[in-house]
């Protein structure tokens, strides 16, 4: 059996989740930009970063914990439903893009795709749950805001990956890499 979650990895995931949750909470204090529910989604930087650092499963953990705890703290239970569904769709597609198309498309573009999907899925869900076809009128605007905010999130993640030196993550990632590779349980 290979070790999926080492102690160091769990610690780093905890830090990422905490950062994500804090930015999510700070963001929720600001009113939305022009359209109901529209926001920048800076907290998703940490989900995308976790995806790049560890992979799909681990970033899903960050996403789920952030969305569920965030929704409970600000007291918006419906937000959890939208956030989880839209987040799951966006993250899955981002994972596929990163895994199969990565050097051909940049992190920024992957983030744009994720944000666009996230906003579209969320709008459709909101219309279905609240039974308000009127809300579809905002779809174009929300998609546009999604692309812009996705670009910003992608840019921040790009800079984080670029600027933070390898030595910071080496100790955490090299062990998991070895265990994940051919030689099992080489290092504990």
């Amino acid at each position: 059996m290979r070790e999926k979650f080492s102690v160091k990895k769990i610690a780093l995931l905890g830090v990422l989740t905490a950062c994500s949750l804090i930015t999510f909470l700070i963001e929720s204090l600001f009113p939305s930009i022009l359209i109901p529910g529209a926001k920048l989604g800076i907290s998703n930087v940490f989900v995308l970063w976790a995806l790049v650092l560890f992979g799909g499963m681990e970033s899903a953990v960050v996403l789920v914990v952030k969305t569920v705890l965030g929704g409970l703290i600000i007291g918006n239970p419906f937000g959890i439903v939208y956030g989880l569904t839209a987040g799951a769709v966006a993250l899955t597609v981002e994972w596929v893009l990163l895994r199969f198309c990565y050097p051909k498309v940049s992190i920024v573009a992957i983030s744009v795709v994720g944000a666009l999907l996230h906003n579209t899925v969320q709008t459709v869900l909101f219309c279905l749950i609240s039974d308000t076809p009127e809300f579809f009128g905002y779809m174009g605007y929300l998609a546009l805001i999604g692309v812009l905010s996705g670009g910003l999130v992608g840019l921040i993640t790009y800079l984080l990956i670029k600027k933070i030196p390898n030595s910071v993550f080496e100790k955490i990632l090299i062990t998991t890499k070895k265990i994940g590779g051919n030689s099992e349980s080489e290092e504990r």
């Binding site: 109901p36 650092l53 990163l98 051909k104």
Partner: protein, 158 residues
């Protein structure tokens, strides 16, 4: 199966790749389509004439701006009260689901209070209703406030 490797990603990390052009082009096309499909039919909204409040699909309150007339239909499980204040007409909606306060001003309406949770979507996220077609939705209380604009079918058909 190959895992996503951080150091490989880092080595290949560039702000722009050729494949991005396709991604951005597709995004622009999608936005353009969405804007065209959903915006053009909504352009002739007209100025605000009437405010209607729906509770579980039935109209419980309506307000005509021109005549300032109020119609309240108390159905099962919901009670609507109005009171004049210095800011405008305060509409209190008490239902089995919870309590909301809507403020109707001269040419707009805004949700002021809701007791669903600390963070109320209808108060914080939805702005004011200022023209026909605007709306405020309160999901937990199953309320929908809709602004109805001028019905100018004759003009449009020319």
């Amino acid at each position: 199966m190959k895992k996503i490797d951080y150091f490989d990603v880092k080595n290949e990390n560039k702000i722009f790749r050729k494949g991005d052009i396709i991604v951005y082009a597709v995004a622009v096309v999608i936005i353009a389509i969405l804007l065209c499909v959903f915006l053009i039919p909504n352009q002739n909204k007209g100025s605000l004439q009437k405010i209607e409040i729906f509770y579980k699909e039935s109209v419980v309150f309506s307000y005509q701006f021109s005549s300032k007339s109020v119609i309240i239909e108390n159905t099962d499980g919901v009670k609507v009260y109005t009171e004049e204040s210095s800011d405008g007409l305060v509409v209190r909606i008490d239902s089995e689901k919870g309590h909301n306060v809507l403020l109707i001003k001269n040419h707009s309406a805004v949700m002021q209070e809701a007791d669903c949770s600390v963070y109320a979507d209808c108060v914080n996220n939805f702005g004011a209703i200022e023209k026909g077609g605007d709306f405020i939705i309160c999901l937990p209380h199953e309320l929908k406030v809709v602004g109805i604009g001028e019905v100018d079918d004759n003009k449009v058909q020319l």
